[in-house]
Amino acid sequence: MPDHTSNGMQCHEFDGLVSDALDGALSGSRLEGFQAHARTCSVCGPLFAEVTAGRNWLKDLTEVEPPVSLVINILASTTGVDTQRLRANVSPSLSMSQQPRVSFRPSWWERAQAWASGAMQPIWGTVRQPRFAMSFGMAFFSLSVALSVLGVKPADLRSVSLRPAAIRHTYYNTQARVVRYYENIRFVYEVESRVRELKRNVTPAEPAPAKKEHKNDTTQQPEQKQDRNYSQNENHLILACAPLGPSVFDPLNQDPLNPDLPVVSVTTYRRFV
């Protein structure tokens, strides 16, 4: 703005008084000087006219009515209280000045909700962040995929017993199932057999351990018996020697201390099956 003097008032001085002039705060010689400057100055006169016009335009702007849901939404998002009472009181047909101003006393439930909401506000604020929601979604997805792969069904969870013994039992069962599953995989089985084969080829043959004869070791007896039996011919002769029974013993002719028992040889044909 050019700074020149007109009617005893400089333009920058005039500029500072425009607001006061519009507000009606100028009076006396100051007002006269202001008006005279506005009439004569080619810059400040039109400026003052524009400022006045702009203010008049703005006076045409009326206040708008906020949406009826605004208060309900605000209360719901701050205290978490969204009551039917409030909804019923906010009538779209009534302006705020027409609405009855009633001071409501909230119920104990609303107060408890408000308290809980206030306490949970920081946590809830974090939880509502998109990145948290994304992380939670991914975790849920991963968990559900893992459970479906392991064969866990939600319906089975109802019958789950939470006793420590039952949990231990379930743990061992699951472990065994996993090990079985792993070992039954064809690829694993093949790899393991190859490894075993390689080991066998690489390791030199160990000398057979010396057999110890255990008197009481009967583990080999059936096989030995079988070997012996199978080694025999089916027509093999078996000599059976049996003492005579008491019926053939003559107590009159024989010394009881040195009995001379008669030897009877019996030849039998026995067929072993």
């Binding site: 500072g16 400022v51 702007l61 206040e63 701050t78 506000q121």
Partner: protein, 199 residues
């Protein structure tokens, strides 16, 4: 404008966890805040979202309000203004400069108060014309730079005095007056241009 003691008591009750006190604050100030947001943002949807954000911020920081430092309404308006400036900066990239001829107001829920109250004497033509003028001025207001717009809104639409505006905007009173005058003059020039095109 407001009884300082009553408002201070209301705030104390609210900080202590009284839901009714908070509801009273919301009922008292939602209209003012919504109007500031609506005139600054230019859209009813944005205004509703912003007003809600203002109250959420207010609810969280209510304990920091100090009645000895200033009026509650000034504190509330400062919060509103800061949030609006943040919103303006965030949406700077997305903003499009619409023509004044374009229908700017998509205000479905909010209607001018003059239309809420049935005026039997005003003919329908006059009411339609008044609404059109209102929409044109509203669109022109949205064309002003944010510094000029906020000063004009607080002075001419919210009737704040210069000292309060200076507190809210954190600038000297002289700067406030200068911005208001520049804003009004700029608005008049925009509207003159528009009406000249229409004629």
């Amino acid at each position: 404008m407001e009884d300082v003691q009553v408002v201070a008591m209301l705030v104390r009750r609210c900080v202590a966890g009284d839901a009714a006190a908070w509801e009273e604050i919301v009922q008292t100030y939602n209209r003012r805040i919504y109007n500031i947001c609506y005139r600054f943002a230019g859209s009813a949807d944005d205004a509703e979202d912003l007003a809600q954000e203002v109250f959420i911020k207010m609810y969280r920081t209510l304990a920091t309000y100090d009645s000895s430092k200033g009026a509650f309404v000034t504190w509330v308006t400062t919060i509103t203004r800061n949030l609006l400036v943040d919103h303006f900066r965030k949406t700077k990239q997305d903003r499009i400069t619409d023509s004044l001829d374009a229908a700017s107001s998509a205000h479905e829920d909010a209607q001018p108060l003059s239309e809420q109250i049935q005026d039997q004497s005003a003919p329908p033509d006059a009411r339609v014309r008044s609404r059109e003028v209102g929409e044109t001025v509203h669109a022109a207001l949205a064309k002003l730079s944010p510094e000029l717009r906020e000063a004009v809104i607080l002075r001419d639409l919210q009737d704040f005095d210069y000292r309060e505006i200076a507190t809210v905007l954190k600038v000297p009173e002289g700067t406030v007056k200068s911005r208001i005058n520049r804003g009004r003059a700029e608005l008049a020039r925009l509207l003159q241009r528009t009406y000249r095109q229409v004629m």
